[in-house]
Symmetry: C2
Subunit: 269 residues, 2 copies
């Protein structure tokens, strides 16, 4: 039996009773620790709260299907931060279960996709989600711009998810065959705003105002006790420090009357 369990967004206490029951009944519990991370809990803390050993599963173990190896005769749980289907790779595991005749199920939880409602904008007025990744000197992807542009054209809000790098190996270490991991990195709101404005200045489609005057909402540590929501222009928000990860950003579309009052709760000035 293979069970995907969503952990929600904040800490060990965001698991559901149903999820915790699955953990308690499991023979093996893995934590998927490369597509996201819990804001306030490490694997050790989860293990303490759940009173159960929690093994960290990295990208290789998940993508290779290694986490399924024992699932045909044991109860295996894979803990996933947020909800269980945030990343395609988790659904792929269910597919492999079907192919291998392993019974499987999933236990849902909150993810940034719905928790973003905490900003006061209406969930059904969001268009496509976009993801920004860290640029390097030679790799500066901007294919998200077209989606931001279509959302703009329809007056829709855009949730912008920001890159996370966990257990990355530098080019140098990779070349030398050394399994030395870089410290985890996460993109900050300021960097995301710079990236968006730079692409706007190049493409000039009007997805956002070039001068940074487009209304946006900064989200930091959503779902945790240290959650921060600040509304302001892109220019205003890029000057602020939102502290610890995780950060997300909303580029507002047309703000309806009933949303204005909500968003004003969070104005930076």
């Amino acid at each position: 039996m293979f069970t995907l369990v969503g952990l929600g967004l904040g800490d060990a206490s965001d698991i559901t009773l149903k999820g915790l029951k699955a953990v308690h009944e499991a023979d093996v519990v893995y934590l998927e620790a490369y597509t996201s991370f819990l804001i306030n809990s490490s694997a050790e803390e989860l293990a303490n709260v759940y009173e159960k050993p929690v093994l960290v599963a990295d990208r290789e173990m998940v993508e290779s299907g290694e986490v399924l190896q024992e699932a045909s005769d044991k109860k295996v749980v894979l803990l996933v931060v947020g909800d269980v289907f945030g990343a395609t790779t988790h659904f792929d595991l269910l597919l492999r279960c079907h192919e291998q005749g392993i019974p499987c199920r999933s236990i849902h939880n909150a993810s940034i996709i719905n928790a973003v409602g905490c900003c006061g904008l209406q969930l059904y007025r969001f268009g496509q989600v976009i993801s920004l990744c860290f640029w390097t000197e030679t790799w500066r992807p901007d294919s998200w711009y077209d989606r931001l542009m279509s959302n703009r054209e329809m007056g829709l809000h855009t949730l912008v998810l920001l890159d996370i790098k966990v257990k990355e190996i530098s080019d140098e270490n990779l070349a030398r065959g050394r399994n030395v991991y870089e410290p985890p990195r996460y993109m900050r709101i300021n960097e995301a705003i710079d990236q968006i404005l730079e692409v706007e200045q190049k493409k000039k489609g009007g997805a956002v105002a070039e001068d940074g005057s487009t209304m946006s909402i900064a989200l930091a540590r959503v779902g945790s006790n240290a959650q921060q929501v600040v509304a302001g222009t892109m220019r205003e928000l890029r000057e602020l420090d939102f502290g610890d990860p995780l950060h997300s950003l909303i580029i507002a579309g047309d703000i309806h009357t009933c949303e204005t009052e909500h968003v004003n709760l969070f104005r930076s000035k």
Copy 2:
């Protein structure tokens, strides 16, 4: 103190540990029981599992802000099915808290908005969500069609939420001032498909194929143990009986290669 607690989608055991702690610490616990309902648990069952009385709050009590009356000097919890910000009215309560100086917080959970990932389509390839409501002889709203159409034009999937009527009073009883509630009603997938096809046949924009050959996915009781996911053409799905509520529907946009294999898991034939 006022706390909104998301209950998730299935039954009493879908509450988070954090949510349950808030319930246990509360002086008064309300269940918001008109925008949705838990598939497998009544207020009495929640009260049994949580070992705490649970009062049912109807539309009037929530929209009038009556549920906040005691929150300035007591701990009041409002339980909300799904996540806490599915309906604008819940955010309005937080706004009132701010106006009245009542401390407030929210504890997230899964909602259909993210749990829809269980169908195998990728969450970031969904466009705007649309909602269908029950038609009457004189009221047949179809303003959702434009949004379905824009999603189509961009190749995006559309999550279609179906109407729920709880504690409605018939026109006759209303006219006679009788507070007699009609039995709860929920829209079925078949009715939703008929409504969409009828509007397509009238508007002919091509949001879906008029002959019902557009690929769609029926979702019934998502997040519960009796969850059902069936993929097929609209014509195929409208002939099937998906049983007890709640039902939702996905109108597929362009299905990417990596999604095809996932969706095929759920093919009706």
